[in-house]
Symmetry: C2
Subunit: 349 residues, 2 copies
Amino acid sequence: MAASTEGVISNKQVILKDYVTGFPKESDMQLTTATTKLKLPEGSKGVLVKNLYLSCDPYMRSRMTKREPGASYVDSFNAGSPIVGYGVAKVLESGDPKFKKGDLIWGMTGWEEYSVITATESLFKIQHTDVPLSYYTGILGMPGMTAYVGFYEICNPKKGETVFVSAASGAVGQLVGQFAKLLGCYVVGSAGSKEKVDLLKNKFGFDDAFNYKEEPDLDAALKRYFPEGIDIYFENVGGKMLDAVLQNMRVHGRIAVCGLISQYNLDEPEGCRNLMYLIIKQVRMQGFLVFSYYHLYEKFLEMVLPAIKEGKITYVEDVVEGLESAPAALIGLYAGRNVGKQVVVVSCE
Amino acid sequence: MAASTEGVISNKQVILKDYVTGFPKESDMQLTTATTKLKLPEGSKGVLVKNLYLSCDPYMRSRMTKREPGASYVDSFNAGSPIVGYGVAKVLESGDPKFKKGDLIWGMTGWEEYSVITATESLFKIQHTDVPLSYYTGILGMPGMTAYVGFYEICNPKKGETVFVSAASGAVGQLVGQFAKLLGCYVVGSAGSKEKVDLLKNKFGFDDAFNYKEEPDLDAALKRYFPEGIDIYFENVGGKMLDAVLQNMRVHGRIAVCGLISQYNLDEPEGCRNLMYLIIKQVRMQGFLVFSYYHLYEKFLEMVLPAIKEGKITYVEDVVEGLESAPAALIGLYAGRNVGKQVVVVSCE
């Protein structure tokens, strides 16, 4: 019957096949094609969107582990359903008066071509389109806010201070380093390849950078770059790097704990042995979640949009095309294969 | 000749025989009797004092380890010389205009009957003598300030919050718990014996307390006492307790890292495996040293002296008599043998 097939189209999806332990594999996900009625359910207060760009972010590993609801700050994915993550999308139909057809939004969506988003309160309407739309998965989205909040709100940075950033070429790290340079700090980053180290020094303007994989003694490496110690550490990795950093903190130093990616795929986290330096150096170590700071988003845009347009801040993305490339792109994060912010293009428009 | 022996008297001393690795033993110290001229050297700007009370404090273990000068926040003791620590003393002669004969002071002195103190800038003149003088090694001295600073300045406590204190019957812990009760918090302490647990509940007014040695599962114990989690943890011990606490912190919780006594005698510290909770619960963990806050001492006295006199705060000391008892008293701290603040009486006047 015409009625039943009207507006029904195919909808490519990336499904989480089953919950993951240890290092995730591409085969933990599966590309399937569902059919979707291109219409909101009767009475829905949600929005029907066409997904344009999807974001691969390190925290997503945590959602691939089976946990009781409420056991972590984000719940597990639903095995058998599409992966959920940040993305940029275009509204096709809206049951929420805050959005209308044609609006561009960023926020939590599905890894599929078309999604119905019911939690519209967490969506941001995109007001500025004179920048690449994909930036709303990165510099103008969650990772950008993460860098902003972690650096400015958590670290209380001051001009002239020494700043160390790990995973420094990633979506968040590259911004932290540039924010720190704009403020007049001395900034060193670590990353996992020569290519990334070159980016840090030549593209992002870090004062220096090193490849942690080529440093058998991280403590010695940090002493080389920070002979007088580290005032601020933006922590993305954890593990041995954190222990080495603790030994090199300056008095009244601050550590913003943004992520611990080196630990996400271990059955048992490595132990951190140098916490005594928190006392010895009177260090403040603070974990944070960007979700608690989204009320600062407009203030953040006021700072970062002009900086982008004036070329004071640059942003590097690692873009792959098509949902079929998404599983490999996500897995690549944990092996450090991405160079810059990992983005998946679903559709250009 | 009479002249050369004039004013020369015997001076009992506790000497650090040699630097210590692992768990310290009484035999690492030695009681000797030197002779001392009871007179300041010509032109000295120091003070000659008679020591009355000496303080045994956990941090002293760190000074028994041989380290390069400047490697920690306090330098190593000098092997072959008397132990140095906080004490209460009476000035016999002063080359510093801020002190005069007969003044009572507290601050860094030697483990001996008579000392010449040259670093007089770190001494406090005792102005209030209507409380036991030994209190200036504890509630009115460094440990009292430590509890005050750690709780009020580092933890930003609010009425109604839940507070957990480890090593809770010790010099610092017993005060933190009482400060928290005065503010209207719910307070639970852990300690290492039934006697100490009874003290916490019956003498110091903690809402509850437990013997950590009888809890095979510290996580389960904390969940029992804090079903809705811990807002503030006053950390004195480290190790397994810290890992269990991290799992039980509430969102935006705060951890004041005052000490990690469980780790002080280990060759290699235990690793802390639950730092991910700093992110998940957005926890701030902050180390501090009381030395940085001594400018608040008068403000502290204004709060604590009336509270003592009105019986709103109580203080338990574990007092031993004589320098010859001092080595065992110090070692006892690390085995948890003391019940309350460990004090050594050298002389009552």
